[in-house]
């Protein structure tokens, strides 16, 4: 507060000085911003800077470090465990797409009048509230040999020995794990979509109904436009989300038998093997992928949704113009 020095010069009392708007403004800016900014720098940017630095070293948490240049980055793509884990993420990406489709489907059903919608909504949303560790245990139990899933399949006449090893069979264990994410998040996605759909004037649905529009038309012309931006947003978020998948494999299989996702491998390298430099390089590579996805998302939104009028995306405008052009051409042709 060296501006206090100016007080005697201006011949104001401290109270007057303190009461002036300009000083007040700076007092409130500094006091309100200090703590959040301090924490942001301490827990995000200093670690981020260090991460970049460490990614060029071969080092453990304690002890000497040697500069290795780009070697860690090359290793991320060369070491089979790191590179393979990127492919494991594809299962979670597939899961995320299934999840979005299901959420969209059920949200659409819910938009129409449903008796007991509170129950259905609650039942489907509920898994989201269960903590990752609990979800892990629930599905360890669910998939265990001879337990829940196998018993259910036996009810439907599948012989016990025909049930696959859900968590051990390399062909399906990643699908089993990704399915737990679908189970956990579908209801939450549905609530998001439903919220967006409901933000449309509900009279529209009634009116469409009165006009005899069938369900598919209602979906196409009323529901879909109201939620396309949130759907695309979630689609793109699912890319970074699936790259960051961590809890299902960590709790259920501990990343064994080819189920290690990127984060599970990174976590193991960092905290068990103490390959800090390599883990940092992995983190930076992941961040770059996420940044690329985000930029793509921004561009996509700019291209697809902006620039048009409020109700029409740019693509729609283009389509309309094309149609108009075709119509004009047809008219011309008719005249000639």
């Amino acid at each position: 507060m060296n501006s206090q020095m100016t007080v005697p010069k201006e011949k104001k009392t401290f109270k007057q000085w303190f009461g002036s708007r300009k000083v007040q403004k700076w007092v409130i800016i500094t006091t309100f911003m200090f703590l959040p900014l301090f924490l942001l720098i301490l827990f995000t940017y200093i670690p981020f800077g260090k991460m970049i630095q460490f990614s060029f070293y071969k080092m453990k948490y304690i002890g000497p470090r040697t500069f290795v240049g780009w070697k860690n980055y090359i290793d991320v793509f060369k070491r089979s465990e790191c590179f393979k884990s990127l492919f494991v993420s594809l299962y979670y990406m597939g899961g995320a797409i299934v999840q979005l489709a299901l959420a969209l489907f059920f949200a659409t059903l819910m938009v129409f009048k449903v008796k007991g919608s509170g129950f259905y909504k609650g039942a489907m949303f509920f898994p989201y509230l269960i903590c990752g560790i609990a979800v892990g245990f629930i599905f360890k139990f669910f998939y265990a040999r001879g337990y829940v899933l196998d018993s259910i399949l036996q009810l439907f006449g599948v012989a016990a020995e025909d049930c696959p090893m859900w968590l051990q069979d390399l062909k399906i264990n990643n699908i089993s794990l990704a399915a737990t994410s679908v189970w956990r998040y579908t209801g939450q996605n549905m609530i998001l979509f439903l919220g967006a759909m409901m933000s449309v004037d509900t009279d529209l649905y009634e009116a469409a109904y009165m006009d005899g529009a069938n369900k598919w038309n209602q979906f196409k012309s009323i529901i879909l436009p109201s939620i396309k931006s949130i759907v695309v947003l979630n689609l793109i978020l699912s890319i970074s989300g699936s790259l960051s998948a961590f809890e299902p494999p960590y709790v259920i299989t501990n990343g064994t038998m080819g189920t290690g996702t990127y984060f599970v491998i990174m976590n193991r390298l960092a905290h068990e093997n103490q390959k800090v430099g390599l883990a940092c390089a992995m983190a930076i590579v992941l961040l770059l992928i996420i940044v690329v996805c985000t930029v793509a998302q921004k561009l996509f939104f700019k291209y697809a949704f902006d620039d048009g009028t409020d109700d029409e995306s740019k693509a729609a405008v283009r389509k309309r113009k094309k149609a108009e052009k075709a119509a004009r051409k047809a008219a011309k042709g008719g005249m000639a």
Binding site: P47, I133, I138, G195
Partner: protein, 283 residues
């Protein structure tokens, strides 16, 4: 919706289809938890002898719950989680709303830079930076302390800041101006005029942040090692080792962690849904 049209065959078919699908979804969503409930009420003998899909002999057998509760030190876990929740939620709401107020209402050099710093931070995945955050925590002597864990949770909180920033954009500046004309200080404007209006944004960030903190495991595992400071997720995780396949105990433990959040959810259902939806449109 009870017009003549709802009796057309297509409408009836759609109605049946709708309820069949929704019921199937509800069953799939609840079944894994339902089986857990059955299992948690079974004695060990019963558990070994019956199919997992069988109902327990009685829902009065509570031994598993008391064993799970004491063995995993869940009371301590609940107390710690409650402490963390209260501190982190209050801090996030105060810090988020104050920061958003300053950033949305005052023009000053660096405002845009600071906003971008926060937005970029949202892109950095939390688990990724923990490799180096751990060193900082260690240097500050915050590893293995509950308040250190609270600090990290507050420091990595971008969601509420984002929610409040969006909300302030929709609050008319004329509110501030008229209060200032009346001689209100900026502090007064914030606390007396604007803060009470932030209620919807506060609910949204309480829901999103609250669920996140209650379920947080990774950082808790990294920073909380002593028995006395373990949170409920960590307490639950202790079942991995010694109980192996004794799922009647594990299921009881799982249910104990679910019950409080289920009760809260049933009470605040409406706020939870609207909070989620509001957070999404803006996220």
């Amino acid at each position: 919706m009870n017009g003549a049209k709802s009796h057309s065959p297509a409408a009836i078919l759609f109605g049946i289809f709708k309820y069949v699908m929704l019921t199937a979804a509800a069953i799939i969503a609840l079944l894994p938890v339902l089986v857990c409930i059955f299992t948690a009420f079974k004695t060990t003998d019963e558990y070994n002898a019956t199919s997992v899909l069988d109902m327990p002999n009685s829902f009065g057998y509570l031994e598993n719950f008391s064993i799970a509760f004491t063995k995993a030190n869940m009371l301590r876990g609940f107390i710690n989680t409650a402490l963390v929740l209260v501190v982190v939620l209050i801090a996030s709401i105060l810090m988020g709303s104050m920061l958003a107020y300053v950033l949305s209402r005052f023009k000053f050099k660096g405002n845009a830079v600071i906003q971008n710093l926060f937005m970029f931070a949202a892109l950095i995945p939390g688990i990724a930076t923990q490799v180096t955050v751990y060193q900082i925590m260690y240097a500050l002597g915050l590893v293995n302390t509950l308040h250190g864990y609270m600090f990290v949770l507050m420091g990595t909180d971008i969601i509420s800041i984002y929610i409040f920033l969006q909300f302030f954009e929709n609050l008319p500046v004329s509110l501030d101006e008229s209060a200032i004309v009346d001689g209100c200080t900026y502090f007064g404007v914030f606390f007396k005029i604007l803060f009470p209006l932030l209620k919807p944004a506060i609910v949204t960030s309480l829901v999103l942040k609250g669920v996140g903190v209650y379920n947080e495991y990774y950082m808790a595992n990294l920073y909380l090692q002593s028995k006395e400071i373990k949170t409920i997720s960590l307490a639950l995780y202790t079942f991995t080792g010694p109980y192996g396949n004794q799922y009647n105990y594990i299921c009881a433990g799982v249910l104990i962690t679910i019950i409080p959040i289920l009760i809260l959810f049933l009470i605040f259902q409406k706020q939870v849904y609207s909070g989620m939806a509001a957070g999404a449109v803006k996220g």
